[in-house]
């Protein structure tokens, strides 16, 4: 190899090495330190009583039980893509507001989700417990606040777009499914009363 080519090759190698070192330094720097594992770990974030306090304030109603008729269970199965687990479901109601604590599988384990519905629209969504090691980002308000005011369309879809979270596709789908289930069940119990 001539001196000119050798020198050029060395300069190129040097520039590339410098770029690689800069990239590594950027990722290893303080801005990219390890996350706070304790704050972001799966676990139980909210108890039943706490959720119901958020939903109803201090005057918490007594729990009721809804035995789901076949047509409702069929509708839930269509929403979730699998049979709904259970013949009955527990809920709380005060006036036009109902609250539901339901579970849906994310990837392999159930996520416990609380949904409050008022006048046919979601009033509150909270993740009570998350059991898997990935996808727990759905617990944060930036995600759950999107559901406020959302209702069901005639085709039983949510009437607003819910932005997903990269790496939490299945958890996002589970929360959206449970929001639809809660809206449908709310519709059923309030229309029965009417």
């Amino acid at each position: 190899m001539s001196a000119t080519r050798s020198e050029e090759a060395r300069r190129t190698a040097g520039r590339l090495t410098g770029c690689a070192a800069l990239c590594l330094a950027a990722f290893a720097g303080p801005g990219f330190g390890p996350p706070d594992a304790a704050a972001d770990a799966p676990g139980r974030y909210l108890g039943t009583d706490e959720f119901l306090s958020l939903a109803f304030g201090e005057e918490r109603p007594e729990a009721k039980v809804l035995w789901m008729p076949g047509d409702v269970r069929d509708a839930l199965a269509k929403i979730l893509g699998h049979p709904f687990a259970g013949l009955r479901v527990r809920y709380w109601q005060q006036g036009e507001r109902t609250a539901w604590i339901l579970e849906e599988i994310g990837k392999e384990l159930p996520i416990t989700i609380g949904v409050a519905v008022e006048n046919g629209q979601v009033a509150l969504v909270r993740i009570l417990e998350f059991r898997e090691i990935r996808g727990w980002e759905v617990r944060y308000p930036f995600f759950t606040d999107q559901f406020q005011g959302v209702a069901l369309t005639d085709r039983r879809d949510l009437d607003a777009r819910i932005d997903g979270i990269t790496g939490a596709t299945l958890s996002v789908a589970a929360v959206k499914g449970i929001a639809k289930v809660a809206l449908l069940l709310h519709e059923h119990v309030t229309s029965d009363e009417q």
Binding site: M1, L16, T48, R90
Partner: protein
């Protein structure tokens, strides 16, 4: 031949098979949900043996009449069928005319006599034991309190009748044939295709040396990138290195 061309040529051949493996498994892993690779399992005995997947010993088993509840690992089985996962300790199993009740330290599973799930509910404080008094289901919580359920098992209330006359669920040794069926059910799901692909992609399937081998392939790709770039860079007086004009 220029030295970097020689390196590029031979390393390229050496990396070919690994690159194909990385590419194929990588593409499949990008489509896990659409292709349901996390829901489909492989249960080849030799593969499960290689993974060391063995059914754990049952942690507890309770029986009442024709029904038996057993926990294997963290899976709850009722009459040989998986009922739930991520289960802690089993507290007992009782039956009434209309219901089957399985208590764990976390939840109460209420099923119809034909094993259709009615409800799974958490109890506070957690149950320690479950029994029956006539047709009423009684739960003893871990603080010693007794709770009695109504006939529909909807809401418990404090049981004032004392412990006398309550038939508490007792641990029951599981018959060997039933255990074999449970072990087969536990092992039978095997591993997901997603997991197999991920282990192939990372090299973990090739035991401890596998990840190191894949690291070496990664370094090899870096070298190939540099030598490829050197080949692409123009040389003084000649155009791109790959198009050397004859003199």
């Amino acid at each position: 031949m220029v030295w970097y061309r020689r390196i590029h040529r031979w390393l390229g051949i050496a990396a070919l098979l690994f690159l194909l493996l990385l590419a194929v498994t990588g593409i499949a892993l990008n489509h896990v949900n659409e292709w349901r690779l996390d829901k489909r399992h492989v249960d080849w005995p030799w593969l499960l043996d290689a993974y060391g997947i063995e059914a754990p010993q049952p942690s507890a088993s309770f029986a009442d009449g024709d029904h038996r509840a057993t926990v294997l690992g963290n899976r709850l089985y009722l009459d040989g069928q998986e009922l739930a996962r991520d289960i802690g300790m089993l507290a007992g199993l009782v039956t009434t005319d209309d219901f089957i009740v399985v208590a764990t330290v976390d939840d109460l599973f209420i099923l119809t006599a034909s094993r259709e799930l009615v409800e799974r509910r958490a109890l506070e404080p957690p149950p320690e034991a479950v029994g029956v008094y006539g047709e009423r289901v009684i739960v003893r919580s871990n603080d010693g309190a007794l709770l009695g359920f109504d006939a529909q098992l909807i809401e418990p209330e404090r049981w004032e009748g004392g412990s006398e006359g309550i038939h508490w669920s007792q641990v029951s040794p599981i018959p060997p044939d039933d255990l074999r069926l449970l072990e087969s059910a536990y092992r039978g799901r095997g591993i997901t295709i997603e997991r197999l692909l991920a282990d192939l992609h990372s090299g973990r399937i090739f035991t401890r040396a596998g990840p190191l081998l894949m690291d070496a392939v990664g370094i090899l790709l870096v070298i190939l990138s540099f030598t490829g770039l050197l080949m692409w860079l123009p040389r003084s007086g000649n155009g791109p290195r790959g198009n050397r004009r004859p003199r």
